[in-house]
Amino acid sequence: MRIPSRLSTSLAKAIKPSGTTHNIRFLKKYSTHPPQARLNKKIDYGSTAMLCHSTSSALQNPELPPEIQNGTTARMNLFQSINDALSLALSIDETTLVFGEDVGFGGVFRCTGGLAEQYGSERVFNTPLCEQGIIGFAIGAAAEGMKAVAEIQFADYVYPAFDQLVNEAAKWRYRDGDHGRGLGGLTVRMPCGAVGHGALYHSQSPESLFTHIPGLRVIMPRSPIQAKGLLLSAIQSPDPCIFMEPKALYRAAVEQVPIDAYTLPLSIAEVVKPGKDLTLISYGHPMYTCSAAIEAAERDLGVSIELIDLRTVYPWDKETVLKSARKTGRCIVVHESMINAGIGAEVAAVIQGDKETFLRMEAPVTRVAGWSIHMPLMFEKFNVPDVARVYDAIKKSIQY
């Protein structure tokens, strides 16, 4: 696939000057860090190893095809890289449609900024405020050969569309049998995860509800590079995809992103950092927490930790995880959504259920995740796994 470089004006327009006025006092109330903290410090997105801060590091990714590796990059945050991916998808294939609530003016998170002007209001448009309608409409359009990229404004509001996703989207190809009509054109984007003050209905990460549904691919990127490559893969995938975007990273995560179109593989995990004593498995926003905890633990405890990003949480890459677990004998799964029946439960069960891996395990598989509660406004920082909790789990696992 060779796509003309088109980092358009839409993107440039979407980039907001830094230092826009916020009510800092208001924000502080929710997201300060204890002044004496050694572990629970603010994540420094400007220096974290999770992001490619230079063009050369961005292009070194062996998953990128040679023409991309020889290309150029631009600094983008997560919403800009998603905007870029959508723009490329719209320019590559005229059957691509982008729609949802408030998508026409650019979206409440700016992910669709400039797209309606550039590609026309027939292809990028607002829908009535009705999630079951958005997904039902998207399914119908995909069933008739369109690439329908639907947006649910917050993952917290996907439930009215749950029937359409579970009973219709996921089962479409299966029940059509030899007729072979699938819903590959369907991609459902939704911002997810904690954001500091989102409380019950602007913080949820319902990925494990979707991982219980055969037929759907469930994807969560951790960075702008991933978001662009995985979203373009999702749009091209022959299977319906749920694409969950950690909204706290929309503006926070900034890195150099290749400007041409590229894809990253679905259902393949990425070993982000090799190690030999313990495996940390995560995806999405907590990857930054894990990275910070690893840095502290390796320094304090003299251990070497492997960090794996699942990227696609279903169908997920068991092979990479099991291979790592067999090597290190210790595993910790970290995710933001609640612990009960979460992704960690499935990963832990697979690790202990694999005959070969079971025999190599030196410690119980640990899950560090949100508590089994709803996301409470004032207590978010005690609910979302932080560096201290991941660090503690590493220490306990090593000392077991």
């Binding site: 907001k16 409440v108 448009f125 039902g136 409409f137 219709e168 299966y174």
Partner: protein
């Protein structure tokens, strides 16, 4: 959804890095593409009408009165033909006698298949069946008005649509028996037909889910023709019952079809019952039709026992749906569900036998069309007997052939979940094979094509 909306607004205004001003800036002065402006011109002093953006043509009134449904007349039911088969609307375009006879035969075929398959279910030869007695006219009549490239979504009581489109008795039987020739690969319950060739999407059990699909599919057809004008103009037809119209998906579908100007014909079969629930417990408005105009949709109510009325209405609805870039149309076709809801239902537990018998004899789409054909002199008792005998034979032959076929390979249970089988499913397939082969007495695999060897 109100609180949700409020929640969003609050968050928008306060989110880190996303002050409300940033969002508003995007809209200022230029609204995207072809949207109508969300704001009307500003209010003129002394104006007779309100310029609230939500209802720009509303006039002020100083008399307080609530709109009450009883002040509106009930939407009339269009009919072209009396129960005696006489033509009442001289302007109606009637089909040729050959086409009329074909439609008549398709209705009879469905009704004979219904009787035989209900019996086959009673004998335990198939697991389930849903007849459509009383609604053959709606299905055959509307399907005859569509073009072959039009896309269809159905609920489950539309065997007449499949029959009129060319679904064969073999196709019906293979699906009902879930044998190796079933294109659905033995996965779905009986009566959940589908056909790619006939452009009918596979039926699923959840009610009303297909209605927003129809809106989206219609939008797809519209967009495809916009980018390639050599394509024929096409519409989507979507069938559902009056019970399904109570689902949220009905609301979702009509509203989005209207706002996106989708060329879709919503065809509601109002047969008086949703399983045991009579319409009085389903809604209190004027049926389903009265809802159409509320969504800004052209709407009509038609006598579903009058096949020519259904044909004419669907033909006109199709023209309307394609006008001015496309728009949805709602058709409410009135009928009576003569049969039980399904083979799992005994409808005399909730309605009188006499009521059913009355509809069966007094007003029935098949009898009405037969009277019309007899009036025209192209049909008589002898032809009726001959045709019925032949169709019965054909159905029984297709039945026994389908029944004899092997079931699909067991492997097909793991396929098509995804386009490519995942490693997880491959492992699970191997595991099932191991269990079957370790406990051969516990599983009967002989009736499945390839036995357990298919699980390789």
């Amino acid at each position: 959804m109100n609180s949700q909306r409020i929640g969003r607004c609050l968050l928008r205004g306060s989110k880190e890095g996303m002050p409300a001003s940033v969002i508003r800036r995007g809209t200022k002065g230029r609204w995207m593409g072809g949207y109508h402006s969300p704001m009307g011109p500003s209010q003129k002093p002394g104006a007779a009408g309100v310029r609230f953006p939500g209802a720009v043509n509303s006039k002020f009134t100083s008399s307080l009165s609530f709109e009450h449904p009883s002040t509106y007349t009930t939407i009339p039911t269009y009919r072209t033909m009396s129960p005696e088969g006489e033509i009442l609307d001289p302007s109606v375009v009637l089909p040729s006698d050959d086409a009329a006879l074909e439609m008549y035969l398709n209705m009879i075929k469905v009704s004979i298949m219904d009787v035989i398959m209900v019996e086959a279910q009673r004998q335990g030869r198939i697991s389930f069946y849903m007849p459509s007695q009383g609604e053959e006219g709606i299905c055959v009549g509307s399907a005859a008005a569509l073009e072959k490239d039009d896309v269809i979504f159905s609920q489950y009581r539309e065997a007449g649509v499949f029959m009129q489109r060319g679904y064969t008795l073999e196709d019906f039987m293979n699906q009902l028996f879930a044998n190796r020739k079933d294109k659905g690969r033995g996965r779905n319950m009986p009566v959940h037909y589908g056909s790619k060739e006939l452009k009918i999407h596979s039926i699923s059990s959840p009610l009303a889910t297909q209605i927003p699909h129809a809106s989206g599919a219609a939008y797809a057809l519209k967009m495809q023709r916009l980018s390639n004008s050599s394509l024929p103009p096409r519409v989507v037809a979507c069938y559902f019952g009056e019970g399904a119209a109570s689902e949220g998906d009905f609301h979702a579908a009509l509203n989005i079809a209207s706002t996106r100007s989708c060329p879709v014909i919503f065809i509601c079969r109002n047969n008086g019952y949703a399983i045991s629930t009579p319409t009085l417990e389903q809604y209190r408005g004027d049926g389903i039709a009265s809802r159409g105009t509320g969504y800004g949709i052209d709407t009509i109510r038609v006598d579903g026992n009058d096949i020519w009325a259904v044909l004419e209405v669907t033909r006109k609805a199709r023209e309307l749906a394609l006008k001015d870039g496309g728009r949805p149309v709602l058709v409410e076709a009135m009928s009576y569900r003569i049969s039980h809801h399904s083979t799992s239902d005994d409808s005399f537990a909730y309605r009188a036998r006499v009521e059913v018998e009355d509809w069966k004899r007094r007003d029935n789409p098949i009898i009405r069309l037969r009277k019309y054909l007899e009036r025209k002199g192209v049909w008589d008792e002898a032809k009726e007997i001959e045709v019925r005998t032949n169709i019965k034979k054909e159905v029984l032959k297709a039945l026994s052939e389908a029944e004899k076929e092997k079931k699909p390979p067991i492997k097909s249970m793991f396929e098509d979940v995804y386009k490519e089988m995942t490693p997880e499913l491959r492992d699970q397939m191997e595991e099932l094979k191991r269990v079957i082969e370790e406990y051969p007495e516990e599983y009967d695999v002989a009736e499945f094509e390839g036995g357990s060897a298919s699980l390789n």
